[in-house]
Amino acid sequence: MHTEETAQVHVVPADKEKIKKIWMTAGILGLVTAIEFVFAFTMAAGVLRTSIFVGLTIVKAFYIVGEFMHLKHERKVLIWSILIPMIFVVWMLIAFVYEGASVFEARF
């Protein structure tokens, strides 16, 4: 019975445009990583360089989550129910880095 079903499976040919878009996204991710490397070796460490790194990381995260994980094309409610809780992470980051600086002040 199973073999009968298997014989009926209709394989749809690949959509060239879709495949091209996947490789385009991969290219962007590779390119952004390359740019990060350029900044790592040509720029002195500091707040500006760190900000550039964080910005470029968010660009990469946008393409991975949006395109590869397909979130960009999901319902708006789903997009927001994933993104809004991330506010807590931003708050946690600010609070703990601030806390770390205070610990430093107390120790040294």
Partner: protein
């Protein structure tokens, strides 16, 4: 007659169970929310790194004049500058760059597997899943090398959870925790990918009529790649 869960009236409204509310299946939604909670765990680890780093003195001299010391936090490009088979040559962050590239590529092959699944193309799903598994295993191999190099050290005594030659004790502890937790995710991802590969070959999804399991495990695999992007930035670049 009593209404049972087995009879689904598709004419019902969204919230009565006629159709998935967010146009995503139960399994996919649950995977999304699991990944959200996992993102919190990884965020906690990376933010802990940020906090502890800020609680230690930063190195203030030039990159060229940098030496390992317990007095200040090391700059990552001086710690991670070795590449297998190129012993003694300083190649800062090159190996970790290769690892990033491997993981991004295995994410791409995963998307291609999902895409092939939508078209019911069994042969292509098999091919791309196999590439994804190879990518994952290669990454794990790289990480094993990275860890053993980090633990053995460069002649200064290496690293353990309580002490390391590169800087304050917390530096190595955080390296083990963060890359170790990520590596565990990659490892379980490879196991899940293998399960999907096996089920594809034996025709489980073809008989089922859809390849949604590939999508669900794909979400997990992309998440592992996503986390690495953040680990790469906050542990190795900043």
């Amino acid at each position: 007659m009593s209404a049972t869960a087995t009879t689904i009236d598709t004419g019902k409204s969204v919230w009565d169970g006629g159709q998935p509310p967010l146009k995503a299946s139960y399994g996919k939604l649950m995977m999304w929310f699991f990944l959200l909670s996992d993102a919190f765990t990884f965020s906690a680890l990376l933010i802990t790194y940020g906090m502890i780093r800020f609680a230690h003195p930063a190195y203030s001299g030039t990159v060229e004049g940098f030496t390992f010391s317990q007095e200040y936090w090391p700059i990552p490009e001086k710690v991670f500058e070795a590449v297998p088979f190129l012993h003694g040559i300083s190649l800062p962050l090159v190996f970790v760059g290769i690892m990033t590239f491997i993981l991004i590529m295995s994410s791409v092959t995963m998307v291609l597997a999902v895409e092939a699944g939508h078209r019911m193309d069994k042969k292509s799903v098999e091919k791309w899943m196999l590439w994804t598994i190879i990518g994952g295993l290669t990454f794990l191999g790289c990480q094993a090398w990275e860890w053993s190099h980090f633990i053995t050290g460069t002649g200064g005594g290496g690293a353990s959870l309580s002490w390391n030659e590169y800087g304050p004790p917390d530096f190595a502890a955080l390296f083990f925790f963060i890359t170790g937790f990520h590596g565990t995710h990659v490892f379980s991802g490879v196991l899940l990918n293998f399960l999907i590969y096996y089920n594809t070959i034996t025709g489980v999804y073809e008989r089922r009529g859809h390849y949604e399991m590939v999508e669900k495990v794909g979400l997990y695999w992309h998440f592992v790649d996503l986390v690495w992007v953040f680990v790469f930035t906050f542990f190795y670049l900043v």
